[in-house]
């Protein structure tokens, strides 16, 4: 079996609006709303050259799942993601102390 080479999504390899929509199975309306609710932040000045990093990809995927699976509205989604990240931060902090 051949080794498949991979691309890390990071600051050197950002995703376009179209790519992030395809990646998380959502339309651009949802992405635009997530930007309005400050869940994700695009780089680039106009919609045409918006680009998204790995954090945006992770948050957008979570947001999409919560939005459709748990019927949470976007304000709730934003709050959920903030709190999940807070928990992650605390868990990391605890693991350093052990």
């Amino acid at each position: 079996m051949k080794n498949i080479s991979v691309t890390i999504i990071d600051n050197d390899h950002l995703l376009s609006l179209e790519e992030i929509c395809r990646a998380i199975h959502a339309d651009d309306d949802l992405i635009i709303q997530l930007i309005e609710y400050h869940v994700i932040q695009p780089k680039g000045s106009s919609k045409k050259n918006w680009q998204f990093d790995d954090l945006a990809l992770k948050r957008a995927r979570l947001a999409r799942n919560f939005y459709y699976d748990l019927e949470v509205n976007l304000a709730g989604v934003a709050l959920l993601i903030d709190m999940l990240e807070k928990i992650e931060e605390l868990e990391t902090h605890i693991s350093h102390l052990k």
Partner: protein
Amino acid sequence: MEFKDYYQTLGVSKTATPEEIKKQYRRLARKYHPDVSKEKNAEEKFKEMKEAYDVLGDAEKRKAYDQMGSNYQGGDSFTPPPDWQYQQAHQARGQQHHGQADFSDFFESLFGQHARGARHQQNFQQDGEDQHSKINITLEEAFRGGARRVTLSSGKNKRELNIKIPAGIADGQSIRLNGQGSPGFNGGKNGDLYLEIHIEKHAQFSVDKKDIYLNLHVMPWDAALGGKIEVPTLGGNIAFTLPANSQTGQKIRLKGRGLPGNPAGDQYVTLAIYNPEIKTEEQKKLFEEMKSRMSS
């Protein structure tokens, strides 16, 4: 294929009202949602529930399922009737439209594209969808990178891929494998596969983004006198000169010794002075001497 008892999956009776079904789905979805749940097999369970709710939560699908399924029990061998064709009157929910086509063969045979008469539209060119999965790697793999075989199961089928883990990948980051998602139809492009990386807990080190954390035991005399000590890092032990009078809790930064990258992460070492067990009379005397000379 096996017949699936969707009522059993959701834990509702066959006579449950739409409201009861919805309520039960919401309750279970909160409990098993793989992005928040700590339950075992949450992902598998959630997928099954979602599939069951997609059918039972939709009046048309539920009716078709009830009519067809009245003679079956969960686990029975099942083949769809030859004249079966499910035509959905309208795209009911957004969910349907955005759903990850990850349901079972049983579902696909009844309500999937094929059953919806997609075979009549075979001239359409269609790109394959992007897929998403998570993989666990060790901290050593994140540090060194390297080839890795991963098994991906997307409901129906399992497949194996040999992938190259890039050195320096951080926890929670995603990698993209071009063209490894769902296949396209009629010359359409294949989708991409996104793999979200999770770094497993390490016995010695902990990690935060690209930085590595280590609690290091030092002997009291090393801490007091200073001098060369060995510090474990992911790249192997390195020698470090400890300043005299070091204390527990003191932090040392080893620049560039974290996960590689541009810039590479650092390693933070927190000192913990380790009190040796007294085993002999002589050792006891040494401590007593320290006590009398140093306690003032």
